[in-house]
Symmetry: C2
Subunit: 327 residues, 2 copies
């Protein structure tokens, strides 16, 4: 059966026109040409257990591509190759797997990455949950680019690339059967083209972080901790879709903590902030980008929000389990 899966499902999806040997568990990569003399490889991994498998704006297949591609992009790497490891639950409909694989192949194609290595395991009914997918990724960092959470410096500007909270609310509303007047759709997407645009304007970007699990607050806290700096956020400046804001109010959630799958936080030298923002506004993925605050040498490790009513609050790391299995 595994041979049939490979021959009739995986190869036509990932290597159209390729022979039976074109998708084995390993691949030889001709990567040397892509690596500059002082260029560096980046290697990442991420497992996806999202529930439900299909949601407004995406599915576990497209998410598994975008998630790993974005992890590479956040390190300043151009994504090149992915591996795909599937853990399937016995009884899974082949049609479901087919839809997921097609979606994964489409996302890989549009993200400019090749799925070059694969593996499939099957577990008994009740010991898995439909489909789990692991993707590992390889990308290449251009010479001169050096992004790290530890590079945030006092005075840096904090830029958010767009409306927050859509992915988490799309998943949760699907899961609990909530319907809103306007459907809230996951923002799952490949952020590398936006990152490339930003790096063209300012190669000395300090830090990039995709706003996945734990949302903006987790990203800010991790970077504050890694860089031993404080963060000040103007809460009114953070772009949030009114529909998401209403849904969060209804569900008792803080949109700063809700996951995104196509939004990033950039920490950039003050001098570059306006030119980077302008470039982001000109890109389809950054039209609603906004400067939301700055890095400070005060209160290192602590993120402070200036609230709408003029007060201050400490924005903590998310506590407890927010939304399980959102990615």
């Amino acid at each position: 059966m595994m041979n049939e899966l490979i021959e009739y499902l995986f190869i036509p999806a990932f290597h159209p026109g390729g022979g039976k040997q074109s998708l084995t568990d390993g691949a030889v990569l001709s990567i040397n040409g892509a690596v500059q003399p002082d260029g560096r490889l980046v290697f990442t991994t991420d497992s996806f257990v999202v529930n439900p498998l299909f949601f407004p704006g995406g599915d576990i297949g497209s998410l598994a591509v975008h998630g790993t591609v974005n992890d590479l992009a956040m390190m300043g790497a151009c994504p090149l190759y992915l591996s795909a490891g599937f853990i399937l639950e016995e009884g899974l409909a082949m049609e479901t797997l087919g839809r997921v694989v097609q979606s994964m192949a489409a996302a890989a194609h549009s993200s400019g990455v090749q799925v070059v290595a694969g593996d499939t395991k099957v577990v008994e009914r009740g010991h898995g949950d439909g489909i789990f997918i692991n993707t590992a990724g390889i990308g290449v960092v251009a010479p001169g680019v050096d992004l790290s959470p530890a590079h945030a410096r006092p005075g840096d500007a904090l830029i958010v690339s767009g409306l927050l909270g859509q992915h988490g609310i799309a998943i949760l509303s699907q899961r609990v059967g909530l319907q809103f007047e306007t459907e809230i759709v996951s923002d799952s997407s490949n952020l590398y083209p936006l990152v490339a645009t930003m790096l063209e304007v300012c190669q000395s970007l300090h830090t990039l972080r995709d706003l996945t699990r734990g949302g903006l607050s987790a990203a800010l806290n991790e970077i504050a901790s890694a860089g031993e700096v404080g963060m000040v956020i103007d809460e009114r400046a953070v772009p949030i879709d009114p529909a998401v804001a209403s849904a969060c109010e209804l569900l008792g959630l803080d949109p700063f903590y809700v996951a995104n799958e196509g939004k990033l936080l950039a920490i950039v030298p003050h001098a570059c902030a306006d030119s980077i923002l302008a470039a982001m506004h000109a890109h389809p993925l950054g039209q609603q980008a906004a400067i939301v605050g700055h890095v400070t040498s005060e209160h290192p490790g602590v993120v402070v929000g200036r609230t709408a009513i003029g007060g201050h609050r400490v924005i903590d790391l998310p506590a407890g389990e927010l939304l399980p299995r959102i990615c």
Copy 2:
């Protein structure tokens, strides 16, 4: 909780002495020095769902390292870096996870690879099974080495590196509560040192294959199909431990179909066969290596066994599910 896992479990295990930032979901690799001008990278992935998690001779942690390291080695690549993606079932004892991670770290250390990227997801009770692990691997192929199942040529010798069937029987006996007079222990191990020894003797090796799921018969059939050649096996020459042979008889299994996790099949030019065999015999992992047959231009795609009583049988691809979740 995830932060604590990373800080108190994963980093001490995989990066002793490393800071909190030393095990993020991605890593920048300084790989260029390791790649020769005409060298190539190899990228593989494998998920592990073995049940039980602990078995004689290993556990899911060591298996997840050896499995991926061996996938790299079978492509002639020196293993360098691994990623590790964990899918944990809610309710898993931390002590169990700790044992698995320690074992994984020990196997990585002794295999000379670094675990440089990690990810952990948690699924609800009843939607996973303790621990699933995905490992992806990156290795480097030396110039001049070019292994492929399609390279098998009529006249080539078939060499098996040691006693077959130990891993599958160790797992199965654990699972069904069978005890044998002498405990049958998994052969789970890193095959790269043996491969390096073999490549030193003969860089023009044609094909290597680890004898995992489906055992020797699956490997032979896949290569026969890929290389459009026939295979002839002298069944009496195939090294099998008497205890494994008895267990197989008891359980109604054919040892040619049982999985191994530390044995390989090499397909080598006839002229090199004796010198390779001698080098294998001098290596701890190849002491019981044996020439078990040859490649033929007759019956392409078909594997024929010469049986102990002088007859012939076709050794088919394994049909149906042999032993689920043995790796």
